[in-house]
Symmetry: C2
Subunit: 334 residues, 2 copies
């Protein structure tokens, strides 16, 4: 770049006290006001972190080495940075911010790294699991609006581990051609969907990498309580990523990724003889029932904007505008 | 891990407002009080960043992908995370915190990624550069204490680029056997050291990776103004990492890594006929002179502790102790 094109204020003699404003100044050259705001907050927090901890060069280098190792551990089927975000509570937080929920709707929770696009669309009533060692489970569920109307033709993505606690993609010979423990269903005219599966079991998140080492140093275990993932998609409704958790799981109050919510905990029942006959499953098999409630895009966006306004006011930046659901301080808007 | 060994408070129903304290609670199981403090500040700032920007899932994923790309770019001879830290001002900040300077001493600046341990120890007066295309430069320097006493036998590490703006390690065929543009010297009894080199030129930091892409999006250039690196080591004195910058460089007020300080800027002189004869260099060659002043370990540690105490008080955590130069809030000390 021609030095003559450099259009920034002179940066020199930067100190502990003035470096942050100057880095924000040079970054403010970006034409994207949202990126400018994000970078300003990122740099300010990163610098405050160093100032408040009096971070030493040795500790800084340990951080550099840790992040490098996290990056090196990432492959097409292993995302160690997502694992880091999950185990530090960031993933749950971002989901809560992006998908706020009214009390009457179903809460969201962490997506996790095991959703794939390999699942086959199945007719209602079929089994999503081919694991003969799992405990048979019948799932009878509904989907409604916040005002109680059934929602038909919702695309429902479901995934769970096998009875050993592993997702299909975690097996070395997995090719994507024969997905197991996952399926895509569609709710019927009454907003009902049902399928067969196996009772979920606890499993540990991958902990043979730097994130697992971090958990060890922090005295934390890598376990997630037994759960089944659900994702709901339908035009006009906010995308819902959630999961149901089995009550009384040994890890129900110490989930390594902070996903458990009381409203998402379920007690399994027992399939009655009538149900066994109707749904073609063994009498005495386990039964999971749940009524999911979706928020509309409009309800979500209204609530999200409201919460964003409150947060910006708290930050002393109430003079802002919201562009595509995301706040930008007015001073950053051209 | 046996669930019975889980010794943490119940974590459930975590929300935008309570997740931070709960993540900090589970992390507080570490027996290392300094790590506990660092993690607490890290998680608090990271979560505040997400809350204040109302970070969307899409933006979070862009961040995950960016960090993954930074990690993937790192090799034995390329540290993209250090580059990221440098270009966001974190490296300079950490150096300023860890190596505070009295006004009477020489200021520090960024180490950068090009220091190696390949440099040969040379006698005073030899050339550190084998580049025939560089402009010859004679460097006449001294090292003193803050009270003006000469310091002898200081190990001085010096490194600079060739006339094309590349360090030896940046060439593909570099093996480490024939270092160029770098040397280790020792100051003499009078605290004097001198050597021949070439006049430094501006160069760009590596910008073919994700950090270069970031700079581009932010409208920033990747250039560093002309400079020569110096590192001073001697028992009892604080390690000094610094550099001298040539005045009137086109990038002197827009260094991509924020390293320039007025006190480190030099005007080059011209070698006199007497100097040319004495130091065996061409008459009319360029001349660099500088008097470096080192702080003792004791002076540094006193100043660092003082600044740490002030920062902790400002944070409302004045009740702390300093262990090996690093603050720990008393509530974290067992």
């Amino acid at each position: 770049m021609d030095p003559a094109e450099v259009s920034i204020p002179p940066l020199k003699d930067l100190t502990i006290d003035n470096i942050t404003e100057n880095v924000n100044l040079i970054n403010s050259q970006t034409p994207d006001p949202r990126l400018k705001y994000i970078l300003e907050r990122l740099v300010s927090h990163m610098h405050d972190f160093a100032r408040e901890t009096r971070l030493s060069t040795k500790e800084w280098m340990a951080g550099i080495e840790f992040l490098t190792a996290v990056g090196k551990k990432c492959t097409d089927v292993r995302q160690e940075f997502i694992l880091l975000s999950d185990t530090l509570g960031l993933s749950l937080l971002v989901d809560s911010i992006d998908h706020p929920k009214k009390p009457s709707s179903t809460e969201g929770t962490v997506l996790g790294p095991y959703h794939t696009h390999d699942a086959q669309t199945q007719a209602l009533g079929q089994s999503i699991s081919g694991d003969p060692d799992g405990t048979p489970l019948l799932c009878l569920c509904t989907v409604h609006t916040t005002s109680g109307a059934p929602i038909s033709d919702v695309k429902i993505d479901i995934w769970e581990t096998d009875s050993k606690g592993s997702y299909d993609v975690q097996y070395e010979d997995y090719s994507g051609e024969k997905p197991d423990g996952r399926a895509v269903l569609r709710s019927n005219e009454e907003g009902v969907f049902w399928f067969k599966a196996i009772v979920p079991v606890p499993y540990s998140i991958p902990h043979d990498g730097p994130v697992g080492k971090m958990l060890g140093i922090l005295g934390r275990h890598p376990w997630r309580p037994s759960h089944m993932h659900f994702m709901f998609e339908k035009g006009g409704f906010d995308h819902l990523i959630t999961a149901l958790y089995l009550r009384n799981d040994p890890y129900e109050t110490s989930d390594a990724v902070f996903g458990v919510k009381e409203s998402l905990m379920v007690d399994l029942g027992i399939v009655t003889p009538e149900q066994a006959k109707k749904y073609d499953i063994k009498e005495g098999a386990k039964l999971l029932t749940y009524d999911f409630v979706l928020m509309t895009d409009e309800e979500t966006s209204e609530l999200r904007d409201e919460e964003a306004k409150k947060a910006m006011e708290k930050l002393g930046r109430g003079d802002m505008r919201i562009v595509e659901g995301l706040p930008i301080p007015m001073e950053d808007v051209d």
